[in-house]
Amino acid sequence: MFAIINKLWLALFFLGYLVAGATGRVEETTMALLRSMEGSVKFSIGIIGFLAFWSGILRIAEEAGMTRWLGRVLHPLLARLFPRLPKGSPALGCITLSLAANLLGLSHAATPLGIKAMYELEKINPTPGEISDEIAVYLGLILGGISLIPSTIIAVRAQAGSQSPSSIIFPMFLATLVGTGVALLVHFIIKKTRKAG
């Protein structure tokens, strides 16, 4: 699947210069490319402050045991989505933690936690090497990307001079909720039709 991203990136340059050549905008296009290099560095510096501050706050939350507390709060809800997982199973703990990291907009912490959850799910997979129900539901939740604090996007809005950068938090929560719901629905419908067939 990475091949697709490689090809896409390649296509940006080749299609870009193809069109530029055809429309006589080669000089302008190269100027834009050179400007983008400076822009990337400026943007990174802007966003680093935000990332660093946020990571600092979350480290405090972790040390205070608040992430574990969040795990316990979310447990009743998750038990319903993963009925086959026994209470207090390590898989359920890992799932909760990775979802909590996603909720808090900590996508970089979320990936290692999520991979750990996948290992735990594979350990109890009744059909190893194939996708189990639990893996499908878990990935549905991750793909939906439910987020309470989309920190990167708020940072972008703030940097662009928004009047209220965080005003998108609640609308975005709603949109991710719909996406997640549809993903899970697709899984359950396919599962049902497979069983019926």
Binding site: F13, E28, S55, I57, R59, H108, L143, V156, S166, P171
Partner: protein, 173 residues
């Protein structure tokens, strides 16, 4: 909706600080440790920005993006999706950094509080990057066949995309 959004971040920060203090965490030192890690993450992002912003700069300045938008416009018109937003929806399942780059570009060009700017921000954050998640998560446990999960992810992306467009229209009229 505005109230909830406005208070989400300050409440979270105050809650964490109060919780840390209550549990006897050395809040200042712990913050510095975490911030250092965030700094490293930020530096690791720079090459990604260079790659994506560079590619998009070429694609946009050459007029190739306008061309792609014009190709997609009839479909967008049908669903009342502005032609600037459509490419964002197309690139979203493929590349998280590409989406971020394109979104930043739209937000800066149209203004963060404009209809296009708000819609772009919402679309960019309304789901995870399907190809990335499936590659990394399934690759980690060596499952090669994604079965129906790709369909699940893409339909979820589509639903979230349409919801984001609808909500942005609804808020900003």
């Amino acid at each position: 909706m505005k109230f909830l959004s406005e208070w989400a971040i300050p409440l979270f920060i105050l809650l964490v600080l109060a919780g840390g203090e209550y549990k006897g965490v050395k809040v200042y030192e712990t913050f510095l440790q975490g911030a250092e890690e965030g700094l490293k993450t930020g530096i690791r992002l720079l090459p990604i920005f260079l790659a994506i912003f560079g590619g998009i700069a070429v694609f946009r300045a050459s007029g190739a993006l306008d061309f792609l938008c014009r190709l997609c416009a009839p479909l967008g018109n049908l669903l009342q999706i502005p032609q600037e937003i459509l490419p964002l929806g197309l690139i979203k399942p493929l590349s998280g950094s590409g989406t971020l780059g394109l979104m930043i570009d739209l937000v800066q060009k149209h203004g963060p509080d404009s209809l296009i700017g708000t819609m772009a921000a919402l679309v960019a954050g309304c789901s995870e990057t399907t190809f990335y998640v499936l590659t990394v998560y399934l690759g980690a446990i060596k499952i090669n066949r994604p079965k129906h999960l790709l369909l699940m992810g893409l339909l979820g992306d589509l639903a979230a995309f349409l919801t984001a467009v609808f909500i942005a229209r609804w808020i900003l009229g």
